[in-house]
Subunit: 185 residues, 2 copies
């Protein structure tokens, strides 16, 4: 089976390709989808998939990830990439100075678009915001997001791909693809 | 002449109605337009207008405002409303601690949609970020945005409507409406 992973982010494409190795062939389509502003990452993912499917017309997946910090009322949420680009981890750590509640979570919503319809799968990873950047792996907020006793930038890509929000969403998608779809719907 | 002001923000609608008093009748249409994520506020405004015009089919205006802080690489930009809602002026002041460069600007892009096409008008207001909130008027970032020696929250609505980014964009629009359109295009 062949799936197109529609994303302009090479890091994501690499993570997805590694995940499906031996199960599905992933073709990276580096297309920019217009992204709606919406507070719900599931909705954003679905709208992107509709756009991409209208253009490509073949089975594809798109994903969208939100990064939500409890003490900041869910900020940066679906604008995680923009916010990281502008104020970086330094900005987030500054906003979190003196905050006791360090809880945060990543939520990924993956939409599978096929001629049978659009199916949204989500995965969540809960953790906490560190007080300083730790580790050199990963990307984005990984160095300031700690799960257990290590940040996502301190663990190997393989370990990250096992526990990450995206991995969890991909896992649900994989189960769905491997089962008889009719049983689920 | 009657113009529909399409916005879910009552403060904006009030500012626009006050501005056009005696020139055009403004009908507030409190419709939510889906908003694309885009770094260019002109583009966001135009896309919203296309959506609204497809629904309403009568002359209308929509606007979109970005708030750009130089030292934060343009953050929060077009996500001004979301960011204000989540981290507030307190968050911005925290991010700006120890920053020497306090320059910031509001940019409003208003799109007029008519059966003759879509026309985008912009207005900009330059100022600086204060080190504390000052004043009780206005809304949003007004208490931390200083122009000359007062914040936008310290001046009257009338004064704000004379100098604001939105007023400047509305002014260009008003001139355009009052002149023979054919001369301009």
């Amino acid at each position: 089976m062949k799936l197109r992973a529609v994303t302009s982010n090479r890091n994501k494409a690499r993570e997805i390709t590694a995940f499906f190795e031996g199960i599905a062939e992933i073709e990276h389509v580096p297309m920019e989808c217009p992204e709606y502003r919406d507070d719900d990452v599931r909705e954003i993912s679905r709208m992107k998939a509709e756009y991409a499917y209208a253009k490509i017309g073949r089975p594809l997946i798109v994903d969208d990830t939100a990064f939500c910090i409890d003490a900041l009322n869910g900020f940066p949420g679906p604008y995680a990439a923009y916010v990281h680009d502008r104020i970086g981890n330094r900005g987030i750590l500054k906003l979190m100075e003196n905050e006791r509640d360090r809880k945060a979570s990543f939520i990924t919503a993956i939409t599978l678009a096929t001629d049978e319809g659009f199916f949204v799968f989500t995965g969540e990873l809960e953790g906490e915001i560190t007080t300083a950047e730790l580790g050199t792996g990963g990307f984005g907020y990984d160095p300031i997001f700690i799960v257990g006793n290590q940040t996502l930038a301190e663990i190997t890509t393989e370990d990250k791909n096992r526990i990450s929000h995206r991995a969890r969403a991909l896992h649900v998608l994989k189960e769905w693809l491997m089962n008889d779809k009719d049983k689920n719907h």
